[in-house]
């Protein structure tokens, strides 16, 4: 298949691995920001192939993983109301809240529907006029434009039974938080290709300059990932800190202007708690005042109390790259994909689930602890 086969070509992968090994004069520490990239790196064994020259830290770029517990609890509370039909993306359903998940709530009778597009949720509101349809909107800048279009569409149709539980998050502020941290040892970033398809790559120029750190826009196939890592290593070897686009078939420097305009029309940046990380300044999107009538948290009273995370779960340390998933005592014992303690064990893009899936099962002690964060 075009645009896939050529980016999975085994010969090219081997050549790139070889070039990276020869280019790197020392071990470099690189963070892939997006969970989709983590999934690709582990699925193809790229982290193992490069481990003598590149330490990969898995970034916080799994939107399902960072959706705060209180948002999930509120979504479940809404879904359990008989007058509400709650809609969301498929992998949001398994994420544990403090007492249950949307999937379990659905089994117990709550109205929870999987949608593939926020516009499907609008359509459900059209065909179910006697019910309130709430779209639980998660994701980075990648999915935010479609949510914005859904709100605009609901407005055009004058729907009074459609609203949004907005949990969209923004990638650059959390990278800013990481890079500014005293304990940061990340030397180069692989920026999230899908996010950059919307935002473009120009928005990273000031960031790269300020922190003197390379930012390489990177895709998700093995050849994409290796090209991104190679560019990052080349810059580090030369002492450069530039923004480079290694995913040009999808990303333009200025981004998708229409998509950005849709986001800007409907949303504004706001401070947002990220699960396991805490408040990220300007790390989320909320509905602008003129769209507040579509805000589910305004429309429906919230009765749930803020809940506490499992004290044993170290999802925050994993999401910030402080530890590898396998360094958590719960990994593979009390926390598995069947019974996840934290969100990174749930989503296909979560670092813990990716480790569980693609690393040797039952050999936790064999994992190298890279010690990438200063004490």
């Amino acid at each position: 298949m075009k645009y896939v086969d050529e980016y999975r070509d085994p010969n090219q992968c081997e050549q790139l691995v070889d070039t990276i090994q020869r280019t790197a004069s020392r071990v470099w520490t690189i963070m892939e920001v997006c969970g989709g990239q983590t999934h690709g790196l582990l699925r193809h064994g790229i982290d193992q192939a490069l481990e003598k020259k590149v330490h990969l830290i898995h970034g916080p770029g799994c939107p399902v993983c960072v959706t705060p517990l209180e948002s999930i609890d509120f979504a479940i509370e809404l879904a359990e109301r008989p007058d509400i039909m709650l809609t969301s993306f498929g992998d949001m359903l398994r994420v544990p809240g403090s007492r249950t998940s949307l999937l379990r709530a659905r089994a117990a009778g709550a109205q929870v529907r999987i949608v593939y597009s926020p516009l499907d949720a609008v359509q459900m509101a059209v065909t179910n006029r006697d019910r309130q349809v709430v779209f639980f909107a998660v994701g980075f800048e990648t999915t935010a434009p479609a949510t914005a279009l859904a709100v605009q569409q609901a407005n055009r149709l004058a729907l009074r039974n459609f609203s949004l539980l907005a949990a969209h998050v923004r990638v650059l502020p959390v990278m800013e938080m990481l890079a500014a941290s005293d304990s940061n040892l990340v030397q180069g970033f692989l920026a999230a290709g899908h996010v950059c398809t919307v935002t473009g790559s120009n928005c990273y120029e000031a960031f790269a300059n300020r922190h003197q750190i390379p930012v390489v826009v990177t895709g998700f196939e093995p050849v994409d990932l290796l090209l991104g890592i190679l560019e990052c290593v080349r810059q580090l070897e030369r002492g450069e800190a530039r923004v480079r686009n290694c995913y040009p078939r999808s990303v333009h420097a200025a981004g998708n202007l229409q998509a950005m305009a849709a986001i800007d029309d409907v949303f504004e940046p706001c401070d947002r708690p990220w699960r396991g990380i805490g408040i990220v300044p300007l790390g989320g999107f909320r509905l602008r005042t003129q769209w507040a009538r579509f805000d589910a948290s305004e429309r429906f009273p919230r009765t749930v109390q803020p809940a506490r995370e499992s004290p044993d779960c170290r999802a925050g340390d994993v999401l910030m790259g402080r530890i590898k998933p396998t360094e958590c005592d719960c990994f593979g014992t009390t926390c598995t994909p069947e019974n996840p303690l934290g969100a990174p064990m749930v989503s296909a893009e979560g670092a813990c689930a990716a480790y569980y899936r693609f690393k040797s099962q039952g050999t936790r002690s064999g994992v190298d602890l890279h010690g990438i964060w200063k004490q």
């Binding site: 691995v17 949001m92 899936r357």
Partner: protein
């Protein structure tokens, strides 16, 4: 006077036999008998079923029996490449066939939601009749229940199949030894993606089509060729990955698969890429996994290629001593990466 009498006459009861199935159809009276006589017996009747006894009286069989039961609850009832009727027959036949027996008879129980259009029922019956004729299996007993609207999803079918062992079945996955080859009988993941894209209204062009088909001819051809088959399994729910894990567990070996050898149609490949799913975990309904010796792999392929349902069979990997994980996949970098077990139904990824 007459006029007045007419005015007070009891209304003629609604016979309920027009365009939709009603609760009355399931209650054993005239409507039920008419439903069976006019529709069921005319399409799938035979000397055992037509008697309409409480139990089918069947002649003795020479060999040991294989017995298998299954329920079919697919939504939508009709999907690209098949429907619930043919699926029920092929699913039943395949369970018997891959166990190593020859399918002979099956039961067929209907659970119908009140309000199902009679036309839908007739379409499903026609499909069952075609599938039964194609496989030679005979529906010898059945049952019909109608449940109130909202307590079922249009139509469920339950079957039990009876097969006869004429030859000894393959030894099974416990007999796998290092060097054995693993084959699949055709492109994987077709049924699951056909149903999912149809159910969710995803407009992929061309749409993935189900692989729903009988496997008895392919299994019979392998038996007639007298090749050393270790194990056969149809890869239904959980996909090929579920079979590989089951075999790895029973054999205490590692099953090693090459990703670039997996047969996947462009339609399934594209749909899986978009939804973030792995075809190895997606359900099949007419595709089996076969294990044979290293020496016989090419002969087994040749036999499978001679049968229409399995003419795209491919070797996808081999059995090794237990390595880093029960099942491993070699992807672009050629490194064996563990393949985890399927966990419930696959859910589409967010981005």
């Amino acid at each position: 006077m007459i006029h007045s009498l007419e005015a007070h006459a009891c209304p003629v009861p609604d016979s309920g036999d027009s365009a939709t199935i009603t609760l009355a159809h399931g209650e054993g009276g005239r409507l039920m008998r008419r439903l069976i006589r006019e529709h069921i017996l005319t399409s799938i009747g035979n000397e055992f079923l037509t008697v309409l006894g409480d139990a089918a009286i069947l002649p003795p069989l020479a060999g040991p029996l294989a017995l298998s039961t299954d329920s079919f609850v697919v939504t939508p009832l009709f999907f690209p490449g098949g429907d619930i009727g043919s699926l029920a027959v092929y699913g039943t036949v395949n369970d018997i066939a891959v166990a190593g027996a020859v399918p002979r008879w099956m039961s067929l129980a209907w659970i119908i939601e009140e309000g199902l259009p009679v036309g839908t029922l007739i379409r499903v019956l026609a499909s069952i009749a075609d599938a039964a004729a194609r496989t030679g299996v005979r529906v010898v007993t059945g049952d019909t229940k109608v449940v109130p609207r909202g307590t079922a999803d249009l139509l469920y079918l339950n079957t039990t199949g009876v097969g006869e062992f004429i030859h000894a079945p393959p030894p099974g996955p416990a007999a796998l030894v290092p060097g054995d080859r693993i084959l699949v009988s055709g492109p994987i993941g077709r049924h699951g993606m056909a149903v999912m894209t149809c159910r969710e209204g995803l407009a992929f062009q061309p749409p993935p089509t189900s692989d729903s088909a009988p496997l008895m001819d392919a299994v019979a051809a392998l038996r007639e060729a007298n090749l050393p088959i270790r194990a056969i399994r149809d890869a239904t729910r959980g996909g090929v990955a579920a079979v590989l894990h089951e075999w790895a567990e029973m054999s205490h070996r590692t099953l090693s698969i090459d990703e670039n050898r997996l047969p996947v149609t462009p339609a399934v490949f594209g749909a899986c890429e978009v939804l973030g799913l792995d075809p190895l975990f997606v359900a099949n309904e007419g595709t089996m996994v076969v294990a044979t010796t290293q020496e016989s792999a090419s002969d087994v392929l040749e036999v499978l290629h001679s049968v229409p349902e399995t003419d795209q069979a491919t070797v996808i990997g081999e059995v090794t001593d237990r390595a880093i994980a029960p099942v491993v996949v070699r992807r672009s970098l050629g490194r064996p990466m563990p393949l985890d077990e399927p966990l419930g139904a696959p859910l589409p990824r967010i981005c």
